[in-house]
C-alpha cells in the first residue's frame, strides 16, 4: 500500500507546480515548474512500481523536452506582456473546464473501483521487471514500435525543413 503521506506529498508537489505553469507570468518560470511537475509525476510512477517508465520520464521529458523549451524561451527573450481575452470568454472557458473536471471526478467516484486493490511498494513483486516490458514491446507491439521509429524520422526531417524556411506567402518584407 502506498502510504498516505507519500501520496499527498507527491500530489501537492505536482499540483503546486502545475498551477505555477498556469499562473506564472514569466514563461521561463512556467517551463521550469513544468519540468518540476514532470519529475513529480516520475516520482509517482516510481512509487507505483514502474521504475523504467519513471526513469524514461525523467530522461525524455524533464531532461530533453523541457530543456528544449527553456532554450527556445531564452532565445526569444520575451519582454512584452501577454494579451488577455475578455472577461466573458474567460468565465465561459473556466466554467466549461470546471464542468469537465466535475464530470471526470464524478465518473471516477461513481465507477466504484475497489480501493482495496492496492499494491505494496516494498514488495519486489510489484516492481515491473524491465525485461518483461521489453519482451512485450518487441514482440506484441513490434509494429507500433517500428511505426514510431518512422514517425520520429519524419519529424526530424520536418523540424529541420521548418526551421530553415525562408520567406513564404505571408512574409512581411
Amino acid at each position: 500500500m502506498i502510504s498516505a503521506p507519500l501520496f499527498y506529498g507527491f500530489s501537492f508537489f505536482i499540483i503546486f507546480f502545475s498551477l505555477l505553469v498556469l499562473l506564472s507570468a514569466n514563461p521561463i518560470v512556467a517551463a521550469l515548474s513544468l519540468a518540476a511537475a514532470m519529475v513529480g509525476v516520475a516520482g509517482v510512477f516510481f512509487a507505483l512500481g514502474a521504475h523504467f517508465i519513471a526513469a524514461v520520464q525523467v530522461t525524455v521529458y524533464a531532461g530533453a523536452v523541457m530543456v528544449l523549451f527553456v532554450i527556445v524561451l531564452m532565445l526569444f527573450d520575451l519582454k512584452r506582456d501577454e494579451s488577455v481575452s475578455s472577461a466573458l470568454s474567460r468565465f465561459l472557458k473556466i466554467a466549461v473546464v470546471g464542468l469537465i473536471l466535475g464530470l471526470i471526478t464524478g465518473a471516477v467516484a461513481m465507477s466504484g473501483f475497489d480501493s482495496s486493490l492496492q499494491i505494496f511498494v516494498h514488495d519486489p513483486a510489484s516492481i515491473t521487471p524491465t525485461k518483461k516490458l521489453a519482451t512485450l514491446l518487441f514482440e506484441k507491439y513490434l509494429f507500433a514500435f517500428e511505426v514510431l521509429g518512422v514517425l520520429l524520422l519524419v519529424i526530424a526531417i520536418g523540424v529541420v525543413s521548418v526551421s530553415r524556411i525562408k520567406g513564404g506567402t505571408h512574409a512581411k518584407s
Binding site: 499540483i15 505553469v21 520575451l78 515491473t128 520536418g158 526551421s163
Partner: protein, 108 residues
C-alpha cells in the same frame, strides 16, 4: 470514520483524481494563456496527466500493457513538442510574435 478511512487508504481512485486535476490545469493553460509556447506546455501537462492514469490503472490491475502505452505516448509527445517548437521559432523569426491571437491575421 468511513470518510477518514477513504482519505488515508490510498487506492486507484486517488490517483485518478490527481490525474484529472492535473489534466484540468493543463486544459486551462491551453485555453487561457496566449503565449504559444506556454500553450504547448499545457498540452504536455495534459499528456502527463493521461500517462499518470495509465500507470495507475496498469499497476492496480497488474497488467503492464499500460506501461507500453505510456512509452508510446511519451515518444509522440516528444515529437509533438519538437514540431511545435520548430514552428514557433519559424514564426517568431518572421513576425517577432508568439501571441496566439496574432495568428488570426494569418488567415488567407
Amino acid at each position: 470514520m468511513q470518510n477518514l478511512e477513504s482519505f488515508i487508504n490510498i487506492g486507484l481512485n486517488h490517483f485518478l483524481y490527481l490525474s484529472s486535476i492535473v489534466f484540468t490545469i493543463g486544459l486551462l493553460t491551453v485555453l487561457l494563456r496566449k503565449n504559444l509556447i506556454v500553450i504547448l506546455m499545457g498540452i504536455e501537462l495534459m499528456l502527463n496527466a493521461v500517462n499518470l492514469s495509465f500507470i495507475a490503472f496498469s499497476s492496480y490491475s497488474g497488467d503492464i500493457h499500460g506501461q507500453v502505452l505510456v512509452f508510446f505516448v511519451m515518444t509522440v509527445a516528444a515529437a509533438e513538442a519538437g514540431v511545435g517548437l520548430a514552428i514557433a521559432v519559424a514564426i517568431f523569426k518572421k513576425f517577432k510574435e508568439v501571441d496566439i491571437s496574432f495568428f488570426q491575421k494569418l488567415k488567407g
